[in-house]
Amino acid sequence: MNTAAVVPFVESMRSAAAALRLPGSGLAWLDATRREAMQAFVAHGLPATRNELWKYTTVRGLAQRQYAPRDDKAANRPVDEALFPPEAMDGPRAVFVNGVFRSDLSRLDRLPDGVGLQSLSSALDAEPEPLRFLLGAPKDAGDDGFTLLNRALWADGVVLRVAAGVHVRGPLHVVHVGVAADAATAWHLRSLIELGDDARLAIVEHHVGEAAAGHLANLVCNIKLHEQAHLDWVGIQRAGADATLLRCTDIQLHDDATLDFHALELGGKLARHEIRVDLAGARSRFESRGAFVLHQRQHADTELLVTHRGRDTFSHASWRGVADDRARGVVHGRILVLPGADGADGGFYNKNLLLSPSAEIDTRPALEIYADEVRANHGATVGQLDENVLFYLRSRGIPLEMARRILVRAFCAVTLERIEPPSLREHCLALLVEQLREAST
């Protein structure tokens, strides 16, 4: 390789590939897949802003950085209890620290019958063949630089399966913790969640971290919901202030499957989440609500890509964002209705508050419609708090800053009000309030 156009980030990933002994090495099909994916990544490079899905998120700065391939001490690092979400303290949970699965912190005993939850590396050790379909593809049309990298370098993840007809009570928690290490580290996790026919499950995914842990987490998750399955998903992202978090969640719904999706984006320096929802089955339904509250120089990008493929499918998305200081919030909500997807009903609604002269909001709803028996709507607004409402609060004695906080909280809270159980909802609201308090100090 010539040194002329060396990108430090790409170089550090290439050397990671050479240095790491990754799970499943020795399996010929997996080794070949990883090798091919790495080649594709090197050829492809990091996503550029001319890629429409990365239009408002530049990784030019990231390209100049290098990351350690792993945190060797991750298996033993103590984790501050305060970082841990209280919600996850009593339920079953899988915990990763700096990208390494921690059985000591996880609680996978006493899982209900019909629920299988293990780390991807141990699942692969036990029985590689069923995972070949998931892990054996070196690339896909929808890939970008980071998903290719994930195919090449995934080191672990979660495999969660719920058998047909099993209704799991109470949520399972997946917790990703980032703590300070000897060097800024990059990790790549790959997860698989599969719900059998008529299975029901609730998952809460947490991202927490220490402020000074400038890691890069690159997570890919595949979710499959079989007929009539129902999944409640809540993602609570409060990664450390220096963290880079890149997530791609790919969800496929079969006939009559339903997905309720909530996201609260509060942390990280650069946090991007690409959520691809494929309403493949007839009458499948997807409802999502999300909010981001950003301050300082935070950058958050949500790419919500919904494909209506089956007949009589439904999607509704309501997302809200707040950007203060020098923060930048990016939202892209695309509804694609394929030919033949008659009866599709899709909606995407995005409202934003811009609170500072140096902040920026870029919102981009899109409709791509190739069928005619459809209803598709979208709306997007960028504005600020209503002066009249602000005055009303002040005239009742509430100081300006507090009045602002009350209104911003109310603006975002709308997206959280359907989270169950109520204790989890309260937890999310409390985090929101905490973030607003930090923002105004």
């Binding site: 811009l354 981009r364 459809v374 979208h378």
Partner: protein
């Protein structure tokens, strides 16, 4: 639905009424493009040296650029060396009375009021036939109040300083691939100058017509409204039916100084190709207006029914404080047409406002996209935008797409975008039919109602034409 459609299966297939060829002797440059072509073109047009140089520098820039491929469009490759860059009727008329009667007949067929009818209608007309402007009416009347309305070629000769000051000041030579090509080879177009304080006493209008085969039409229009000036300008376009694709790459620049108002309306009916997607015009147009002065206003209104492929985003740069930009659009596509159109509203000044209303109708196997940008720059305090995009689909094989981009960098701005897409309402259709209205008529009635908000923005005689055009374009759409 199946029974509904079978009833109208026998509906007329669509006819393109402007699809005749006029047999007129013309003088054309041989196909091909290099610096010599440009020099020859410039020489034929007796242009001053600076103009020739301006063209050449645009050409050199163009050579460094690549044809864009980003839009949602299927496009046969264009051979820029196979196009003739100049075609003019051989006997160049000096006045309207000397205009070739066949040419006048052509405009007659198109319904362009060139003669006395123009005066009656209160419209001044400039007609561009292939590459040159053949007649401009009502000049004297306009000259009395100081309005200049003439062909671009004449403006370059007679009003060189004005042209030189404003040409390329809104759409720079290298703005995009087709604008650069236009800057190098533009053949003619209209020039309008409304001096300070003058309210133009009549509607100004230009009809564009591509007649010769293998020609491209690259017209260039420049409209300048000085302080407190007011003007309304209309543009209509047609072309004969031909099996190959012809290129139309125009550039339109509008400049509004303080308190000036420019209203620019287009009815675009270039040949769209036949029902199998053969032939038709490639309409790649750059239209941009700059509200340069405080309190100025630019309004774009367009009815797009023609062309095989349209890329067109009439835009407003709202530089002056309190300036206002508006965009009203109806885009109808049928058969294999592809339209990718919308607008850009760039808010730079304080208290600037923009409004966007876009209506899309897709039928047949066509693809119809709205693509728009609303950008609020840091200094655009209290900027306001409201955007409304509605699309209807007629039939199962067409596509309708909406791609708005909203970028806001000022915390006092309020930007609102809403869009809907649905098929033409069965309930409305049924209601009309239960009252005895045939399905085709019901469809035109509903589509007309759907577009009303935009038609209202057109001058009266254009609104009638636009409505008729929509009806003709929709023939055979139900099936």
């Amino acid at each position: 639905m199946a029974t509904q459609s079978s009833e109208v299966q026998a509906a007329l297939s669509r006819r393109y009424e402007a699809g005749f060829v006029t047999d007129i002797e013309s003088l054309s440059l041989p196909p091909g493009l290099d610096e010599d072509t440009i020099r020859a073109l410039s020489a034929i047009k007796e242009e001053p040296e600076w103009m020739t140089e301006w063209r050449l520098s645009a050409y050199r820039h163009w050579l460094t650029m690549r044809q864009p491929d980003w839009a949602h469009v299927r496009l046969a490759p264009i051979d820029f060396q196979a196009i003739s860059y100049y075609s003019a009727p051989k006997n160049k008329p000096k006045s309207l009375d000397e205009v070739d009667p066949k040419l006048l007949e052509t405009y007659e067929k198109l319904g362009v009021p060139l003669h006395e009818r123009a005066k009656l209608a209160g419209v001044a007309v400039d007609a561009v036939f292939d590459s040159v402007s053949v007649a401009t009416t009502a000049r004297e009347q306009l000259a009395k109040v100081g309005v200049i309305f003439c062909s671009m070629s004449e403006a370059i000769r007679e009003h060189g300083e004005l042209v030189r000051q404003y040409l390329g000041s809104v759409v720079p030579q290298g703005d995009n691939f087709f604008a650069a090509l236009n800057s190098a080879v533009f053949s003619d177009g209209s020039f309008v100058f409304i001096p300070k304080g003058v309210r133009c006493p009549m509607e100004l209008s230009t009809y564009f017509r591509i007649n010769a085969g293998h020609t491209g039409q690259f017209e260039r229009t420049l409209i300048i409204a000085e302080e407190d000036a007011v003007v309304s300008y209309l543009e209509g376009c047609t072309a004969p039916m031909r099996d190959d694709n012809q290129l139309h790459a125009a550039v339109v620049e509008l400049v509004a100084l303080e308190r000036a108002s420019i209203k620019y309306s287009t009815v675009q009916n270039w040949y769209p190709g036949d029902e199998n997607g053969k032939g038709g015009i490639y309409n790649f147009v750059t239209k941009r207006g700059e509200c340069r002065g405080d309190d100025s206003r630019i309004t774009w209104t367009q009815v797009e029914t023609g062309s095989a492929i349209t890329w067109k985003y009439p835009s407003c740069v709202l530089r002056g404080d309190r300036s206002v930009g508006e965009f009203h659009s109806v885009a109808l596509t049928h058969h294999y047409q592809q339209a990718d159109t919308g607008t850009k509203m760039i808010h730079v000044g304080r208290d600037t406002k923009s409004k966007i209303v876009a209506k899309g109708i897709s039928a047949g196997r066509s693809q119809n996209s709205y693509r728009g940008l609303v950008k609020v720059e840091k200094g655009a305090v209290n900027a306001r935008n409201h955007t409304r995009c509605d699309s209807i689909l007629i039939g199962k094989k067409c596509g309708s797409h909406t791609y708005p981009y909203v970028e806001v960098k000022n915390p006092t701005a309020i930007v609102e975008h809403e869009a809907t897409t649905s098929k033409i309402s069965d309930d409305q259709l049924f209601y009309c039919r239960s009252r005895g209205i045939g399905e085709e008529d019901a469809v035109s009635m509903i589509v007309d109602g759907f577009c009303k908000q935009v038609f209202r923005e057109l001058p009266m005689e254009f609104a009638v034409e636009a409505k008729k055009l929509l009806e003709v374009s929709l023939e055979g759409a139900i099936g």
